[in-house]
Amino acid sequence: MCTTCGCGVGDTRVDGKALPNAGSPSAESSSAEGSSDGDPPGSSQASPKGVGNNPAASYRALAADSRARPAAQGFAHSHRHGETHTHAGGAPAEKAGTSTGHARLVQIEEDILAANNAFAAANRRHFAEHGIFALNLVSSPGSGKTTLLCRTIEALRATLPIAVIEGDQQTSRDAERIRASGVRAVQINTGKGCHLDAHMVGHACDDLQPDEDSLLLIENVGNLVCPAAFDLGEAHKVVILSVTEGDDKPLKYPAMFNAASLMLLNKVDLLPYVDFNVELAVDYARRVNPALQVVTLSATSGEGFAAWLDWLQTACRQQQAGKRATIAALQQRISELEAQLAQHARG
């Protein structure tokens, strides 16, 4: 019940299953401490040991709960939960000489979004290790995101493995539309929330298990305000603006256009019928974000679509090349170490 947009937290679902959402601090700590019940004692990777140091350290909206979590395969979610707690480690520094009776001042200096950012960093690392190119698609409702996705999938699925995460407040209609186009999709329902966060995306990836060297398209909740602040671990935010909206939207919702790397100006087939100045819209968007790339297209007619597909394929190849370069560097290091070891064995 935020006074600005009415958002809250809770009722989050990934493919219909409730995401853990601790209501009280005691519930959080008991769920974290009790998590070893379900995990074999020896499996250090699967059991959230990091949580044990700081049982209720999870960001409430991103609350960690291993019991509701599907078994992690490759996407070691528990591992990531552990990492997010390191930032809270150590006692906060107390200001010397500020104690007055029982009251004292404690310095915190912690970013409010630190917990989300830690989950996002873990997602990003996972994507890099597996050559997965992830995009966070943001726009107002009705800009044509899902239609754009369906056409993109149709054009690329023969040559590129694709997976989709759909975010909506309610219903799985979008995920069903995507599945009908022949690729795997997971629906996140944010319930009272108005944006996806990195923890939800981590859980969705546990379910979805995107392929190696694949394209992961994350369709955020239709909202031009809140998703701007939440890093999901994506390579880029892509903002979609349709010509049936106002050309001054980049000025009215600057945070989103500032956070995006690419703007897709959609529904250009309708330009003859609407009062929308493309040059002005692009100019406004670049005032907010000078580095913003722009592609004008229509997901219905296919006009301008080649440029978007080209951008996607180039970016996917770069992500895959990055993964191969990392592996090659590691292999080289191993052979150097083996040579060194052999020398020592001889000596």
Partner: protein, 113 residues
């Protein structure tokens, strides 16, 4: 914006600090909120009071330190005050101006018992 989830994150940060720093009551929370962070201080106050209910920060005063926006003008190369992300440079009238400060959202300090 999403002040409710931010307010709940603040409470979580406070609870973590209480566990590490061994205190049971928080009487004041200082937040640093940048002018360009898209957080509305009044909405934040409202949501903080709601999120704090039943926690160790119940009834705590919320002090918001607003940090002015600053930016680097690509046109004249000066660092200038910036009231909003899309504003032109107040010195030369040109743009773009890249934000260099005022995007903060931080829990700075607590008064505890």
């Amino acid at each position: 914006m999403h002040e409710m989830s931010l307010a709940m994150s603040v409470i979580d940060i406070v609870e973590n600090a209480a566990r590490a720093g061994n205190f049971r009551r928080v009487s004041t929370v200082w937040l640093e909120i940048g002018q360009l962070s898209a957080v509305e201080p009044e909405a934040m106050r409202f949501c903080f009071a709601a999120a704090a209910r039943g926690t160790l920060a119940d009834g705590a005063a919320l002090q918001i330190i607003e940090i002015n926006g600053r930016g680097l003008c690509f046109n004249c190369g000066e660092t200038v005050p910036l009231a909003a992300l899309y504003d032109p440079c107040p010195t030369c009238g040109g743009y773009p101006v890249q934000a260099t400060g005022g995007t903060e959202m931080r829990v700075k300090e607590l008064e505890v018992e």
